[in-house]
């Protein structure tokens, strides 16, 4: 059973709890008073650009990085002073860190061995896990002979072997090629669902995060910028940073009054419940409709990019920032054409937080 996700709070069912967790490297806060809770059986994905502190977050939970302030609790117990090997959490490293001098079986059996399991138990556990990750019978293989995808599977089996109460993944699919990544992320989600594993993963790849997670936490400069289900984050980015990190470029400063926003692109309609006053405004490419030049904001077509399901059209209005529009394949204009632009209120989001200067 997986619990409902978005922003679950309260002590009940809370497996991992960070309160004001802070880590400083030479005066700079890499983790800045982070509050984060993960409930049992939940898959939480921390998403952020490199340097946002997401790996440090995992290391702090694992006990590999001491906190400068705040606390980490597991099952309600403060972990201060508990060394890494007694925390009972699993960590899958970014580049796997398989032990080169051991074979596949030796790697997977390492955790159970450290926990004092008998030889027979270990062998059974290794067999079971290798089967689970799709590498049955590969106990005797040398880790050097594994492909990238196989290494990833062995690393996962190794991390799961000691039955950690929380499994953490650091850029789990970062080094693999795209098609393999897309396949593995589905496999991972199914596997964690079956096992009921509680997972805290970090990645810089939004596709990975959205595909894997029950809840996405976006980090920026050591702070949490937004937390919510993938759908919530995608539909309502909390601020301009999150919007741009998710790949949206149509963001401008605007003044909202009533159901209209005043922007460099002219008057733009906004949804009914939009907050009033100065704000940043996001226009999704799907909300940019192309009309006859006379009927809307007049733009020149600067470039076209084929995106598979649609064409991204880059439009240059006079004296205003560029706009990206998503067009169906057949309707896309040629570079150099003159078009008009109209806006669709349903695809427009008034963002919180500071607006662009």
């Amino acid at each position: 059973m997986r619990l409902g996700s978005s922003g679950a709070t309260g002590e009940f069912g809370m497996l991992l709890n960070l309160e004001g967790a802070t880590v400083r490297f030479g005066g700079r806060a890499v983790l800045d008073a982070v509050d984060l809770g993960v409930t049992e059986h939940e898959i939480v994905c921390v998403l952020g650009p490199s340097g946002s502190g997401k790996s440090t977050l995992l290391r702090a939970v694992a006990g590999l990085q001491p906190l400068d302030a705040g606390r980490v609790s597991l099952d309600g117990r403060d972990q201060a002073g508990v060394p890494a090997h007694r925390r009972g959490v699993g960590l899958m490293f970014q580049d796997h860190q398989l032990f080169p001098q051991r074979d596949v079986g030796g790697n997977v059996a390492f955790g159970p061995r450290m926990h004092g399991e008998s030889k027979g138990e270990r062998a059974a556990r290794v067999r079971e896990l290798l089967e689970l990750v799709g590498l049955p019978g590969s106990e005797r293989r040398a880790v050097a002979s594994l492909s990238g995808g196989e290494q990833q599977r062995v690393a996962l089996a190794r991390a799961l072997a000691p039955r950690p109460r929380l499994l953490m993944l650091d850029e789990p699919l970062g080094q693999l090629d795209r098609s393999l990544r897309e396949r593995l992320v589905v496999e991972l989600r199914e596997l964690f669902g079956e096992l009921g594993t509680t997972v805290l993963a970090v990645t810089h790849d939004q596709g990975e995060a959205f595909a894997l997670a029950d809840r996405v936490v976006v980090m920026r400069d050591g702070r949490i910028a937004q937390s919510g289900t993938p759908l919530e984050v995608w539909q309502r980015p909390a601020d301009e940073f999150v919007a741009r990190f998710l790949g949206f470029d149509n963001v401008v400063a605007a003044t909202v009054s009533g159901q209209v926003a005043d922007t460099p692109w002219g008057k733009v309609p906004v949804p009914e419940d939009a907050p009033q006053g100065a704000a940043a405004l996001l226009v999704r490419p799907a909300g940019v409709r192309l009309v006859a030049p006379a009927e809307g904001l007049r733009c020149g077509v600067a470039a076209r990019t084929f995106r598979g399901t649609h064409v991204a059209v880059h439009l240059q209005p006079q004296d205003a920032p560029r706009l990206e529009a998503a067009c169906a394949l057949r309707e896309a204009p040629e570079p150099g054409d003159e078009v008009g632009v109209a806006f669709d209120a349903a695809e427009i989001v008034v963002l919180g937080g500071p607006s662009a200067p």
């Binding site: 060394p83 925390r87 860190q97 390492f110």
Partner: protein, 539 residues
Amino acid sequence: MARLGLMTVPVAFFAVFFAYPVAAIVARGLKVDGGWQFGRIFDVLAQSDIRHVLWFTTWQALASTALTLLIALPGAYVFARFDFRGKQVLRAIVTVPFVLPTVVVGTAFLALVGRGGLLDEMWGVRLDTTVWAILLAHVFFNYAVVVRTVGGLWSQLDPRQEEAARMLGASRFAAWRTVTLPALGPAVAAASLMVFLFTFTSFGVVQILGGPTFSTLEVEIYRQTSEIFDLSTAAVLTLLQFVAVGAILAVHAWTVRRRETALRLVDPAVTARRPRGPGQWALLAAVLATVAVLLVLPLAVLVERSFGAPGFAYYERLTSDDSGIFLVAPIEAVGNSLEYAVTATAIAVVIGGLAAAALTRRDAGRLVRGFDALLMLPLGVSAVTVGFGFLIALDEPPLNLRASWILVPLAQALVGVPFVVRTMLPVLRAVDVRLREAAAVLGASPWRVWREVDLPMVRRALLIAAGFAFAVSLGEFGATVFIARPDNPTLPVAVARLLGHPGALNYGQAMALSTILMVVCAVALLVLERLRTDRTGEF
């Protein structure tokens, strides 16, 4: 905190057996009637024969370094870039001299260029009255230092860097000069400094080949102690040497730090290829000829001379104890040496291993870095300083070890520890810290982490370090000669004492003992070399 715990034992060891003797030397040299007399330094420097020794020590070290570079750099290139049959064997042969005892080298060159030596017999040429014997022996010793340090890096430089320069319009020479040479520069500098250091503090070679004419600072310290019995002059000279070596080591540490620039390194196996064209074959032939004449010939002559009397007469003579030079049969030195060396190796591996483990962390603080430099000191500060310090510091209360046999292994271990640390440290540092973290997260305690992750990876390095410490202890001369008891000589001490007495029989016995010592050391090294290159193992 755990790291501080690891450091306690090595630090205590160094405090008692290095810092305390050095302090004793300082006091002996500069303290007169209970008061400090720093003027003593200038008094000693004012003596013209001392100034002569200082001058000779410096210029012979410079000349030896230059000559070694001149002869060994082509060798470094050949080893780095050429692939040819027998390369592994040749590499081992080149390395043997480095671990050979100085006494063996001195004896071998005596047999080659000395009175009644091979050149004397064939052409009537003697070099042992000139400085050339010393210089050539120094090249013999340090050839491997340059080939290993410079050649090792050279073989890992990506040839495509030079190719990139060629594609941008650089000539072959211009590409070498602008791409390869700057990359090699720091390695050449580091190797030169090591050679300079070794030759500046040369003892055994100069003691045997220098005769009455040539004397380095080390030899002079020994002479002042054992022949003139002027301990306070010896102490002042030791301090001078100490300062000079400290300066050289500081420069060396600086160049090593600069060497840690980001170079693109590749697997040496892909950079070497078979020589092409007459020029490259000629170069290979020249290097092989140099190795044959300079490195192999002296040792061959040594062995030949040891059989100079009919049959095994010199060897047989070693077993009799009526020579009058020793209280025991010279052959007993073999057993003494082996016992001492095994004990010294055990001490050096424990102390050096603990120190290396403590130094492993890259983020080690200033304190630990200072400790790192401290560990290198005995290597450079010269064996004679160690021996002299033991002699004057550890033979009276509070610590009187004079009568104890452990004194010799302790001194030899002190000389061996830097080798252990230098061998272990790079391997320990190469262990990815995240592998240790992975083990910890899987439930391994710090001690289990060391046993499960570090130990399997450094096991071989540990064996190599032990082998080095063993070879160094076995051949150790400078310190041992001060403290070995007359009834328990080691091999090198016995050789030197035999050479110090006239007569063909003593000369022949010295050759025979040297040959035995050489064979033991060479076997130890060849075992190491196999360990190092055996790639059938797990990694």
